[in-house]
């Protein structure tokens, strides 16, 4: 659906986007992750054809966006951040205006507007003036506006910023529904838990450069093929650690922060369940009282923190970021 090759964007001497490469399949959801100022919004504006890249080509649905601008634009639904609406229009008027601007046939306009209102779950505010709505509701109006012409590609820049946790969960459901409807969705966010649920693949961007891109599991596998194990034992952990260090396949073993917890990284091979059973059996045979062994699957948050710059996040800043992510994420 979308292919971007070698996208560069300079603001004066400052490279905001550097040699970006992206390929996104039709009907997939792509998470665009990066810290503030990484170049996410700039990239999305370029993909939305609103800003020209300094170099690079973008193909949307088979059309070169530079050469076929008028063909490509109606295929896109773009939700920028920040944004403003026509505040003196009511929600339904606002949507009708954009339906007309997108040349939705007159007999279909009402249906389309109703469908967009339904999908964005803002039907009860249809007669309210846009200027009187809170930010969260305005965001839904904008989503409805983005959908009113039935675009094939959705570019959503921080769509859930400023929403309360409940609204954010609802927003995720909406985006998942859109993906299920066959839309290609690109969502940028720095709130990672938002993306983990519905993104098929992600791209991590920093300083305008794509650090990694692909399916979450593939990236994790490529970055580190080991699995993180958490073993809870009763009593002293030292003999257990000594024993574990002798087991082939375990690449690192250390005492965890909590009492009785051992953290290890292991290459579990093709049959991870049997490998875990073997580890537990070895510990039990040596007289270690094993309370639990958990293979912790890394998630998008871990991925970001491992890939994103230590300079940017630093030791303290990283802790702060984790705290903030947890605080901001939905309950």
């Amino acid at each position: 659906m979308l292919e971007a090759r070698g996208i560069w964007r300079y603001f004066g001497a400052l490279p905001a986007v550097q040699g970006l490469d992206m390929a996104i399949e039709r009907g997939s959801a792509y998470g665009f992750i990066g810290p503030n100022g990484a170049g996410k919004s700039t990239t999305l504006r370029i993909l939305a054809t609103l800003d020209p890249p300094t170099a690079g080509t973008i193909t949307i649905d088979g059309f070169d966006s530079h050469r076929h601008l008028t063909t490509v634009r109606p295929l896109i639904g773009f939700m920028p951040d920040p944004f403003e609406l026509y505040e003196d229009l009511t929600v339904v008027e606002h949507l009708e205006f954009f339906a007309q601007a997108y040349e939705v046939p007159r007999h279909q306009r009402k249906t389309r507007v109703d469908a967009a209102l339904e999908l964005a779950r803002i039907r009860e505010y249809r007669t309210s003036r846009c200027g009187t709505l809170s930010k969260g509701w305005k965001q839904r109006v904008l989503l409805a506006q983005t959908l009113v012409h039935d675009p094939k590609l959705l570019l959503l820049d921080e769509p859930a910023s400023g929403l309360d946790p409940a609204a954010r969960i609802e927003f995720r459901l909406v985006i998942r529904a859109l993906r299920d409807l066959g839309k290609t969705v690109i969502v940028s966010s720095h709130i990672l838990t938002e993306l983990a649920d519905f993104c098929d693949s992600v791209g991590i961007i920093e300083h305008g450069r794509m650090l990694v891109s692909g399916k979450i599991d593939d990236i994790l596998q490529r970055l580190d093929p080991t699995t993180r194990l958490e073993i809870e034992v009763q009593g002293d952990t030292a003999p257990a650690i000594e024993l574990l260090l002798r087991i082939p396949g375990l690449v690192s073993v250390k005492k965890g922060e909590a009492a009785g917890i051992i953290e290890a990284r292991a290459r579990l091979g093709e049959d991870p369940v049997s490998a875990r059973v073997e580890i537990v059996s070895a510990l039990v045979a040596a007289g270690v009282k094993v309370a639990a062994l958990t293979a912790r699957r890394e998630n998008i948050e871990d991925l970001f923190l491992r890939v994103a710059s230590e300079q940017a996040t630093g030791a303290n800043a990283r802790k702060e970021l984790i705290g903030r992510l947890r605080e901001k994420g939905p309950a």
Binding site: G6, G12, L20, D21, P52, E93, A101, Y102
Partner: protein
């Protein structure tokens, strides 16, 4: 698709029925308290004051006569409409476009199927909608004016309002064009308002000797055109006939409005491009040239106000070339291509760059030189052959100055980044135009031969143009006794040398841009950059991992 759309195509001025912006702005205007408030003020100002005047006329013993009443009512209504269409509408148009940009709703509109021209025309028509509706209520007052002897009856009123419409068209479309300079809607409105006030305040400029064509090109001619009684006649001499200026001004206003709207449309399409572009800029240049040529006359009859028994062609020629220099200055500056566009075009290789992405100095030289030569050729038709040489030398000085201006902006745009480049170019040009005058003042203090003292002054283009154009006039003798044409050649030579120097710089900077564009390659998302290790930067701006000694993305390094 309605009949007008079929006939004129989408995006034309007459395709309003298919323009959602027009329809929706009409709805929104009804809710806009500013529109309602303004309408009330207008109605009170026009109808209220007219009612008071009518009462005074009817009041026994007050002595207000019909003749005075009708003139007063006409002038009041005309002034109110002049404010409405000469200032209010342009300001609102600039504000509307500026606000759409500021709030980023213009981005939403760009993404729709509405073409940029339709967005532009939609905003323009919307700006006129309420004022036209309100001003229609002043028809009775206008009819009263038609019965006024002092106004010139129907013809005087028609002339006055034709001039007003012309003024409004030029002012509004020009305000739309400049609304893209600031970033905020209110700044755009304020800027447009101030610029228009300055332009309108310069209402007397076209009466200055040899600057009569400004009455056609600017908005001021129309504003004074209705003032009769021989006080401020706005006349042009067309093919030997003395005609009301508005006859020439109206078609010109339409043409200028078209050119300015094209510029505004370009900016709506893409904010990174120049305002007018070469094509629209060239149209503007040719249009100005034709106006300057058809209004050129050495007949004393067309210069009644100057008390000259005989007009020599040098003065009018000099005035026209100076106007042409000022009119083509924006084209010379605006057509210089930014480095970003040049790099974008080069990076698309082997695909050829777009026209807007190519630095083609000779194309601009042609576009800037053509109007100057055209004007010189047309002017020499009406004068004795002896004046042909001054005309062409003045044209050459004008053209070479414009080429230097263009090249200076081009070098600045290729070398500096925003916002330095604009400041630098203006700084250099300021020096280019005014430093020679300072130099002349300096050399004037020194005990030097007269011809040495004259040379620095000649480097100021305005002085050089005037000296060249008036070289064969009786008054055209330099203090040093040297032929003024020779002095003008000094200016010409300096310009030509400067142009060659700047052209060499452009070539050098283009080479650098080409090298830079070659470094803009795909940087794969890969394991070269493990966590937090993108901490080295090459001279070309590529970030790369510290594990590399040299930038892996630059083949040259």
């Amino acid at each position: 698709m309605n009949i007008l759309t079929r006939r004129f195509g989408t995006g034309s001025l007459l395709d309003l029925a298919n323009n959602p912006l027009v329809e929706w702005t009409a709805r929104r205007a009804r809710r806009d308290p500013r529109s309602v408030g303004f309408a009330v003020i207008y109605l009170i100002a026009v109808h209220g004051v007219t009612a008071i005047a009518l009462t005074l006329m009817a009041a026994p013993g007050f002595g207000l006569k019909w003749r005075e009443f009708s003139f007063f009512v006409h002038f009041l209504t005309w002034a109110a409409n002049a404010f409405l269409f000469g200032l209010w509408v342009p300001t609102r148009f600039a504000q509307a476009l500026g606000t759409e940009r500021e709030r980023k709703t213009l981005d939403f509109l760009r993404m729709t199927r509405i073409p940029a021209r339709k967005i532009c025309i939609g905003a323009l028509v919307s700006a006129y909608m309420v004022p036209v509706a309100v001003s229609l209520t002043s028809i009775p007052e206008i009819l009263v004016g038609c019965m006024s002897e002092d106004v010139g009856y129907v013809l005087g009123v028609v002339e006055g309002y034709t001039g007003l419409v012309s003024t409004s068209l030029i002012a509004t479309t020009f305000a739309g064009l400049i609304s893209f300079i600031p970033k905020k809607g209110n700044q755009a409105a304020g800027g447009a308002f101030l610029i228009l006030i300055v332009l309108l305040s310069a209402g007397g400029a076209f009466q200055a000797p040899f600057f009569e064509p400004l009455g056609c090109l600017g908005p001021w001619g129309g504003l004074v055109s209705e003032v009769k009684d021989g006080r401020v006649p706005f006349v042009v001499k067309l093919c030997g006939e003395k005609l009301p200026g508005v006859i020439l001004q109206f078609p010109l206003a339409v043409a200028l409005a078209h050119i300015f709207l094209t510029g505004t449309t370009r900016r709506i399409e893409s904010e990174t491009t120049g305002f007018l572009g070469l094509s629209a800029g060239l149209k503007l240049g040719v249009l100005v040239t034709l106006v300057l040529a058809v209004t050129f006359s050495t007949s004393p009859a067309s210069h009644e106000g100057y008390y000259w028994s005989q007009i020599e062609p040098g003065g009018p020629m000099a005035g026209r070339f100076m106007i042409l220099l000022l009119a083509l200055f924006p084209l010379a500056a605006d057509t210089a291509i930014h480095r970003e566009e040049v790099v974008r075009g080069l990076a698309r290789a082997p695909e050829p760059p777009d026209a807007d992405e190519q630095v083609a100095p000779w194309r601009s030289v042609f576009a800037l030189t053509l109007p100057c030569i055209l004007l010189a050729s047309l002017i020499t038709f009406g004068v004795e052959p002896v004046y042909a040489v001054p005309a062409f030398v003045a044209a050459a000085v004008t053209a070479s100055t414009l080429v230097v201006v263009h090249f200076t902006f081009q070098v600045s745009r290729l070398y500096f980044s925003q916002p330095v480049r604009g400041v630098m170019a203006n700084f250099v040009l300021g020096g280019f135009f005014f430093l020679p005058l300072l130099g002349a003042w300096g050399t004037g203090l020194l005990p030097l031969p007269a011809w040495v003292k004259e040379i620095p002054t000649m480097l100021c283009p305005f002085v050089a143009i005037f000296t060249a154009a008036t070289a064969r006039d009786r008054s055209g003798v330099a203090a040093s006794g040297i032929d003024p044409i020779a002095l003008s050649f000094v200016a010409l030579l300096v310009n030509v040398l400067a142009a060659f120097g700047l052209h060499a710089l452009i070539r050098e900077l283009m080479g650098r841009a080409r090298e830079f564009a070659a470094t803009l390659t795909v940087l794969p998302a890969d394991a070269f950059a493990p966590a937090g290790k993108l901490n080295k930067k090459c001279a070309n701006g590529h970030l790369f991992s510290e594990m590399w000694e040299k930038c892996p993305h630059c083949p040259a390094t």
